[in-house]
């Protein structure tokens, strides 16, 4: 079950740059206390009369529920459009309208198995916190974080603090191993006989991770970043073709049934398509 989300006005207690990204720490009662790794918040952007109506979704990078500010969450913002640029330019003491925690968290293994975290760009934002939980559970942890270039790699510091091995990849070779996270994943997995891979990042990366996990007989839990208008399950914009427990593919809302899915349920090749065997596709004539 999802825990109940709240809408609340949070207060920014710090903004720090890390490479290409801004990490915003927000004091917000009611979210930090119940949030778990993999869940996300949505943030209204542009102020009260903003012409940008759609809230932006951010995975919760970490929580601190014992800070002197009350509950605090961190989000990692990649300023790429007008909404995220507005957010990245916020200052300490500014207010933000937040809704969360939303979505389903990463499932945590019952037994202390070997696990691998794979993060692409700012997709790595929610993984160090997950790693901390996995280590507390006694799991072996290997992290692979990558991006196109060094400034876009997130999580080096955080990963070092948590422990386990860390491999960095960049496509241009500016940091770590030249190449992609998926180039090094098979070796990391087989070295310690990984049972579960957790991944967050762009869809093609998740699709490749899913394939590698399957080839290695491991489970992959992937957190998707699908475009969302509402984040709370009421608009139907964020759907993916997901295979349910009866083997039927349904257009499934990633905001409330995800954002974390067992990769074996996700029909990656059919994203942005409407395959004829999807439940209800036969009724689509006309529209």
């Amino acid at each position: 079950m999802n825990n109940n989300p709240v809408q609340t006005i949070g207060k920014i207690i710090g903004v720090r740059k890390t490479g290409f990204y801004s990490v915003i720490s927000i004091a917000c009662a009611g979210i930090a206390e119940t949030a778990r790794p993999g869940q996300f918040v949505t943030v209204a952007v542009g102020g009260e009369n903003s012409s940008m109506l759609l809230r932006r979704a951010f995975s919760i990078a970490s929580v601190d529920d014992r800070s002197s500010y009350g509950g605090v969450i961190d989000i990692v913002v990649s300023a790429e459009g007008p909404g995220t640029r507005w957010l990245a330019s916020r200052k300490r003491d500014d207010s933000l309208d937040l809704v969360g925690p939303l979505g389903k968290p990463y499932p945590i293994p019952k037994n202390p198995v070997a696990t691998v975290l794979v993060g692409g760009g700012y997709g790595a934002a929610n993984l160090p916190w997950l790693g901390k939980v996995l280590i507390q559970r006694g799991c072996r942890l290997d992290s692979i974080y990558g991006a196109a270039t060094d400034l876009k790699v997130y999580g080096q510091l955080e990963a070092r603090r948590i422990g386990g091995s860390l491999t960095i990849t960049t496509e241009d070779g500016s940091l770590g191993t030249m190449g992609r996270v998926t180039d090094v994943l098979p070796d990391v997995m087989s070295k310690h006989n990984a049972a579960v891979v957790y991944a967050c990042g762009p869809m093609p990366m998740l699709s490749a991770v899913a394939q590698i996990a399957q080839d290695n007989g491991a489970i992959a839990q992937v957190a998707v970043e699908e475009a969302m208008a509402c984040g709370i399950g009421v608009c139907m914009t964020c759907v993916l073709p997901i295979i349910d427990e009866n083997g039927i593919t349904k257009m499934t809302r990633s905001c409330i049934s995800g954002p974390v899915f067992d990769a074996a349920q996700v029909r990656f090749a059919d994203i942005n398509k409407l395959p004829s065997d999807v439940y209800g596709a036969d009724a689509m004539g006309g529209h």
Binding site: V6, Q7, L53, A229, C235, M236, T237, N272, G280, A283
Partner: protein, 331 residues
């Protein structure tokens, strides 16, 4: 009514404490204790909003348009943000009427939420078949008929764009339901003569109209150089379309002053809701704004009472169409 005309010409009546403002309203013969509804397709069946406010305390939930069979909806991308608005092309994803009755409607009834069921069809006959499944449900507040659907028997021409097709769908629905269930025809402003369409659905037995549905629109992705939405075109909603909605409500109210109108299209605040009521709406629906602010229906209901009180309206019903009175008096 003396107070009303005074307000039109002279200075406004003395402000009234918003807590004393009676914001109950009438949709035809039905009294509604609160004036703000959710717009169809923007609240699913209400469950997702119940975390943010008491959904039984607003006018009601208008459910996502339901059709006879389960529908997958369109491929993604299904939406695009636009200035003060958004485009959507969901394709009426839904579980089909049977599953909807068993799950969504059962939940709404148990939760004691005033409910308007929005229905849609591909053919005139299908509108009737969906409506018949609702016939025994005398607890429903109303049935809203989304006629912005392509008519497969008329080369995909949208029902709501043709007076005869609109009337045929409404006649069929009216016949399928008992007279206890009000029928609200949902109109589009993408027509040359919305008053003519309104007349045809009134003649066909509609008890009221809801307007406006989204406006047909398109965004093009400049990187891929193709339309953003998988279906090419989509529906524009949000504050960007509000002046179009106000105009449509104004025109229809001018012609049919006693017709209940459920106004919608970009309502974001109590002031926006008041604008629609002054133009002739008896109640409003809030759609896209919910995505921006999930507690908006509740907030707007409170703000609307304040806006009415500030202008000396003790009763919401006194404000319905009031801008017409003032406008006429000023001529």
């Amino acid at each position: 009514m003396v107070g009303t005309s005074l307000r039109g010409s002279g200075p406004a009546n003395a402000p009234i404490d918003s807590l004393l403002v009676d914001s109950s309203t009438q949709l035809g013969s039905v009294r509604i204790p609160a004036p703000v509804f959710t717009a169809s397709g923007c609240a699913a069946s209400g469950q997702g909003l119940d975390n943010f406010f008491d959904i039984a305390a607003i006018g009601g939930i208008v459910t996502k348009s339901i059709m006879l069979r389960a529908r997958s909806g369109r491929a993604t991308p299904r939406m695009a943000e636009t200035p003060s608005g958004m485009l959507n092309g969901i394709g009426l994803q839904g579980p089909g009427i049977d599953d909807f009755l068993e799950n969504d409607l059962a939940w709404l009834q148990a939760r004691k939420v005033r409910t308007v069921v929005s229905i849609a069809g591909n053919t005139v006959e299908e509108y009737g078949r969906v409506a018949r499944r609702l016939r025994e449900l005398d607890w429903l507040t109303a049935v809203e008929v989304n006629i912005s659907c392509p008519n497969v028997e008329s080369r995909g021409q949208v029902f709501a764009c043709d007076a005869a097709a609109s009337a045929a769908a409404i006649t069929e629905v009216r016949r399928a339901l008992t007279s206890n269930t009000p029928v609200i025809a949902k109109l589009t402003a993408d027509v040359t003569d919305i008053v003519g369409i309104a007349r045809s659905v009134i003649d066909a037995g509609a008890d009221g109209v809801a307007m406006i549905n989204t406006l047909l629109a398109m965004s093009i992705d400049l990187d891929q150089m193709r339309p953003v939405l998988s279906g090419g075109t989509g529906g524009l909603s949000g504050p960007a379309i509000r002046p179009v909605a106000v105009r449509a409500i104004w025109q229809v109210h001018a012609e049919f002053p006693n017709l209940p109108i459920l106004g919608m299209g970009g309502v974001r605040s109590g002031a926006d809701a008041l604008e629609m009521i002054l133009a002739g709406a008896s109640a409003v629906s809030v759609g896209t704004t919910i995505f921006n602010d999930p507690s908006a229906p509740w907030r707007i209901q409170r703000e609307l009472r304040e806006e009415l009180g500030k202008r000396g309206f003790g009763k919401l019903t006194d404000a319905i169409g009031h801008a017409h009175t003032v406008f006429e008096a000023s001529k």
